[in-house]
């Protein structure tokens, strides 16, 4: 972990170095109100973090290359001020950003992003394992949305909407929401949402939004990502942004855009109809199986997902009429329609 004061210093230094030309140590020192020796020390720190910085006598320093890391100062720089994210806590390796964030939330932290390059015990829905190697985007956001717990079931879909919007608009790939908490590209999972909440009566004390995105992962590295329950079933597998685009994404920019999108959507959560319309437009509908129970006891019925209702439940047309599937205890499998994306 990197301490707060160092984060702030490095954020300022990196923003000066972004000038894309040589900047003198004396100028940097003046801007940061530190000595040239202190500047030199911080340049060394950045180099240790993987930054390539050229130093020329009389000219000063120039940033040649940034490492592909989700450093706090990079995310904060791209965010450029956010009410939703006041602090970024960074790990190279962590058990699970969600578990760390939950602990911090319990201790009173708010508006904090926990991000990691790798998770050893990444968590998916219902405590399923989530494979999280380097190259992905794995983060958990501590936030306190001012909504009733009744609207909280929409949070998962609203967050998936934000992920879709950014993939669609920034990367120009047609991502869709797979109810209740996944984002897919051509039926292949590219991102998942995990939401933990602490609730007092119907007031949300805090909310931890976990997001995992297969960003720059090779298709081989995510082969193991399928849920056990999906194995041997009508399983479409996972994909990554890199695989779909044919090139790597700038993860820092992706995270910053996504956070801004989430902030925008959450601020409109009380305008339920507007958010719902956006969610509907982005949702995957069509033929599904409704699976109740687990393993040998599982009962399966077929139907057609036709809509989501006001509190985020999936409406499925079956032989018995329209059924309302609330997330949680029921699993839904989507059949791929011929020609559908």
């Amino acid at each position: 972990m990197i301490i707060g004061s160092e984060k702030a210093r490095l954020k300022d230094l990196v923003s000066i170095l972004r000038a894309d030309e040589y900047v003198s140590g004396e100028y940097i020192g003046r801007m940061l109100k530190v000595s040239r020796e202190a500047v030199w020390k911080q340049i060394s720190t950045l180099r240790r973090y993987g930054y390539r910085i050229d130093a020329k006598p009389r000219l000063g320093y120039m940033l040649i290359d940034r490492p592909d890391r989700l450093y706090p100062w990079e995310i904060m720089y791209e965010l450029g001020g956010s009410a939703m994210v006041k602090e970024v806590i960074y790990y190279e390796d962590v058990s699970s950003t969600q578990d760390v964030a939950l602990r911090l939330a319990e201790e009173g932290k708010d508006s904090t992003l926990v991000v990691a390059e790798r998770q050893s015990k990444g968590r998916g829905r219902s405590s399923r394992r989530w494979v999280s190697p380097y190259g992905g985007v794995w983060f958990s956001l501590i936030t306190k949305p001012k909504i009733s717990v009744r609207n909280a079931t929409l949070l998962s879909l609203a967050t998936a909407l934000a992920v879709c919007n950014i993939i669609n608009s920034n990367l120009n790939i047609p991502a869709r929401i797979k109810w209740p908490n996944d984002v897919v590209i051509n039926h292949r999972k590219v991102a998942g949402i995990l939401i933990d909440m602490s609730v007092e009566h119907d007031i949300i004390n805090y909310c931890v939004i976990g997001i995992g995105v297969n960003a720059n992962l090779s298709i081989e590295s995510i082969e193991g990502m399928m849920d056990d329950e999906d194995k041997g079933y009508h399983y479409y597998g996972s994909t990554s942004l890199m695989h779909e685009m044919g090139r790597a994404v700038d993860r820092v920019k992706f995270v910053a855009s996504l956070l801004k999108e989430i902030e925008g959507i959450y601020s409109k959560l009380s305008y339920r109809d507007e958010i719902l319309a956006s969610i509907r437009a982005m949702m995957l509908f069509g033929p599904v199986s409704i699976i109740e129970g687990e393993g040998r006891d599982a009962r399966t019925r077929d139907g057609i997902a036709v809509d989501v209702d006001g509190d985020g439940s999936l409406l499925v047309k079956t032989n018995e009429g329209i059924e309302r599937i609330t997330s949680g205890y029921v699993h839904i499998r989507y059949y791929k329609m011929h020609g559908s994306r």
Copy 2:
């Protein structure tokens, strides 16, 4: 805190001593499969806990008097086996049973009751202070109800219903539910419910049900119990079971009956209509003020509470028609009706 193995031993010993006659040390030893010396040691332990036990040569031991304490073995003995309470954790003094239980739940404990004789930082709704001297009933129950978070708002009312039922049937005092989380006798608060939940998407990971009952408290000792917000307002004050009955209640029996009632009601939570009908029958309706905002910014409107709806919201008739008050961000004050109990 008293450790588990000691609890089990003392539970067995106390149940033997309940014979209401002299029981020989040799007989006790045989029943508990320990030596007579071990029996003597455990008798000493009980005496240290405040039990009066007479010992007569050749006759053995007889229980003369139990201390007025909510000891785990006493509660477990009265409960006589419960799926909902597998363990009782006891404190003479604790900061807050709710905070302790929340921590234990976070660590994975389930079906556990945390009980204390006194709380130094007892918590009411919205972190308000709850005065908790010796003589009351202060406990928190860790449980995992298999319900969707959508039905969770009913939990508070369902728990208040359990408290009412026990006060009504066991003590024959007309208690009513004051929405959203209090139990009152003739408009005076006698018990409060506090519910904290950890939620993943719409699945409840765990639930901590906090209950505070002014059991054997003198009316003087609860004068300080009014909420700050109630001071100087139409405030009816608090009361205690002892004050209403004119004699002390057996707290151990009260706790055990209450836990059994809660277990029964929770097991029927999915039969919403049945539970709702019981809640309605026990609810305080009539003239209320709806208070939005706090302090100087508070806006107040008058209305008549007429019903609760399917998810536990209060329906209030105002000039603008029927308004649905969801708990949490709005406060409700009840006016006492002439002659109403």
